[in-house]
Amino acid sequence: MKKIYLDHGATTQVNPDVLDAMVPYFAEFYGNPSSIHSFGRETKKALEVAREKVAAGIGAEPREIVFTSGGTESDNIAIRGVARALQKKGNHLITSAVEHHAVLDVCLALQKEGYELTLLPVDEYGMVSAKDVEAAITDKTILISIMMANNEVGTVMPIAEIGKLARERGIIFHTDAVQAIGLLPLNVNDLYCDLLSLSAHKFYGPKGAGILYVRKGTKLAVFNFGGAQERKMRPGTENVPGIIGMGKAVEVVVADREKRAARISSLRDKLIQGLLKIEDTKLNGHPEQRLPGNVNVSVKYVEGESMILSLDLKGIAASSGSACTSGSLDPSHVLLAMGLDHQLAHGSLRMTLGADNTEEEIDYVLEVMPEIVARLRSMSPFYASSKKE
């Protein structure tokens, strides 16, 4: 059976050039970058080349790049770091109801510790409004954190606008851009951000490597101790092969971004149009301001996990915002914040496309999807009763 991967929002396949770049750093160049002998100097040099590549890819300076273990760690270092560093200046944080848990849960934890938190609502498309951000700002606001693009529904937020109004007021602005790099134009100066999180495995790099961009002059308190690596912001011996791979991955995805984004967008639109031909389906997320690879639909009367299992039996990998797949008892907080009822939130299906997907694969998905939906609906108590009325 052919296998089709439509879960690039979860993780991506390591690019072959990235893998080639990494391999020598396991057994050939294995020195600790902190060592002063030749073994250490070799890897230290390679680390700094990777830092230059990452910086060049996002319009930053090399010394503004902090290597981390991934997006979650970057978000934690950024948000906790600002909250603690600026606690004498103020105690108010602003974020949105649709953030990834790596941002949302950190903010909620800080709220428990006594910080004031504004959780901005979103519209029916999952969009945060810059006006709402502006209205929420008080003289105690020290940090605004809004994601660049939503991981579940693909909605692209007005980050430059929000960044600009934060900058004008001297408020630190963080954005989780984990889903965006390689798909959207990403330059830290155009976005007016002070802090930006990235994760290598979301853009054809390895797992276990991430980036926190820290604009020079941004003060962060630290919570981990034990080494001087990454200017003490992320102590501990660096994941050298991962970082080397990540540097290469930034280079690769930024270089042919426009071409790849255009190709993926056209596959996305074909898939969305095909899925919406199935009766009683609804697109989740913004129809235009949308990540090139994101498809998210709710299929009325059926539950998400049963769709994922059925697709998996056909060799297709997808995901859902249903409770069973969200790891909690509730369906996706993003879909609920957008105003979906529980049935539609449980019936959501996310397919995230990547560089390796083909038109034939999309055709195959559109061929098997109607049978899957029809079979599950034939078992559903709601479909049967809705057709009687």
Partner: protein, 125 residues
Amino acid sequence: MYSGKVMEHFTNPRNVGEIENADGVGEVGNMKCGDIMRIYIKVNDQDIIEDVKFRTFGCGAAIATSSVVTEMVKGKNLDEALEITNKKVAEELGGLPENKMHCSNLAADALHKAIEDLKNKRNEK
């Protein structure tokens, strides 16, 4: 994550549908968690469950437990049917993932509710 038997029932569920003029109907679950199961039973004069059908909105475990409970109960009398528990249903399927034991393993409850519905209807007569 699921046993072969769960996937087998998910792929080929038994007794899907509803019974017109069923003697008892039981529904459990709630939409917050995303699992709703409805079971229909037809019972003869000797209290034997002659026919049973289900419709379920839910995950793989919800569908498989619904399916297997219909298989377990068909041809049994009401007392035997009441001895079927959610735990026995999970065992019959070769076990369920831990996080599915509470929210998606309610098929026996739905069956018991259908029997309760039948008894209520009889009392009304």
